[in-house]
Amino acid sequence: MSCKKIGQTLFFEKEINITSTSSFAGKKEGEGPLSKYFDFVSDDDMFGESTWEKAESKFVKLAFEKAVEKDGSKLSDLDYIVCGDLLNQCSGTVFGTRDMNVPYFGVYGACSTFGESITLGSILIECGCGKKILAGTSSHFCSAEKQFRFPLALGNQRPLSSTWTVTGSGAVILTENGKGPKIECITTGKIIDMGITDASNMGAAMAGAAVDTIVSHFKDTGRDLQYYDVVATGDLGYVGRDILIKYLEESGYKCGENLTDCGIEIFDREKQDTHSGGSGCACSAITYCGYFHKKLLDGDIKRLLIVPTGAMMSSTSGKQGESIPSIAYAISIERQ
């Protein structure tokens, strides 16, 4: 591998480009402010299937196939698929890709999976292990609630700090020497646990990891927030974003309007009653694949730092009183 590593940050020698993206969104996401940027919006969260899990896998299948189709290639052109999701044993993406007949890496980074998939996909290309790789992820509000929280029809109240898991699937095609925005460098996060135990305040649990990765990225690269046109965290929501700003400013990094969060961008908080914002693997994935990618192509954004964040607890660890370990991956993407 010829890439340069400074601290936690990898600078790629090879030209690794995002040559296509696809974003499939659920009904609620389709009613949000980013609706027109998605490739497809389903008007039914069951997506014509008999279970939410099957619906999620169908989202994966169609979104991944669409990314390949938009790239002008075939599934057989892919060297690897790197993907994961929130469900146990990553079954959402496993079942979605089982008929694709492409070498597969299943990864789990909770809601940061999009970042982890792109990171590992880029490293595979840099190492010369492949020239075309699909990195993708999915999440589904209903299947995630079923696994991690309460039944949907239960008459309880959601706390104001809670976030809304995004339904959808997003994928990027990474190509060596392709045409499209370039993966310039990636800062891999460490597991950070700030002792938060409240599973309905994921933004607070993940903000510490976002601070750690972003500060490490700035130290390794000698950059600051102003270097980028947009710095977008994955799914900290309003609560996590406020914590992030407080800590970044304390660390000496001035935060401006270019700092945002995919969970804030994807929903209209007031009209859609999503409390602290959106979350889930698909939150950063479809926000990038639909919205930011188009902004990069159009030239509205030239340098983007996208920082998918993940809360790495399990439904068992929470019951056993464990706090929530979190992670964040920072990916610098530049318009070519």
Binding site: A153, G155, M194, K246
Partner: protein, 148 residues
Amino acid sequence: MDTSKKAKEEYSKIVDELTPKSKILKDVFRSFVSGGLICVFGQFLKEFFLNGGFEKEEAALLVNMVFIGIAALLTGIGLYSKLGKFCGGGTIVPITGFANSMVSSSIEAKAEGWILGIGAAMFSIAGPVIVYGITSSMVVGFIYYFVK
């Protein structure tokens, strides 16, 4: 990120400051009024059944049956969660909340089949209420037996 004990305590304080709090007065008021209205409706039903010639115990059982039926129906058509969002404790504490917890768990488990799905999941939320309800009634029963 400093993850020392002191830094975590400081972080926790900042999280508390920046996390929006529930509006307790509004929530309590809504719970009180909605829970109260459910009880008034229950009393109305009880009087109705008593006037219809039922014994006191039979009338109480019928009230429960009507409440459970209504809660199950509203859960099934997706209205109970909306009601619960507005009423909070007002629709959780009465027997309607118990019915809602069983029906909502069952609906989600339907895909896993009748035995390992619905049969196993039906009491996933209601189970602890039954276990500790019976346990505490036994404790109170013992005390009552010896103190009487």
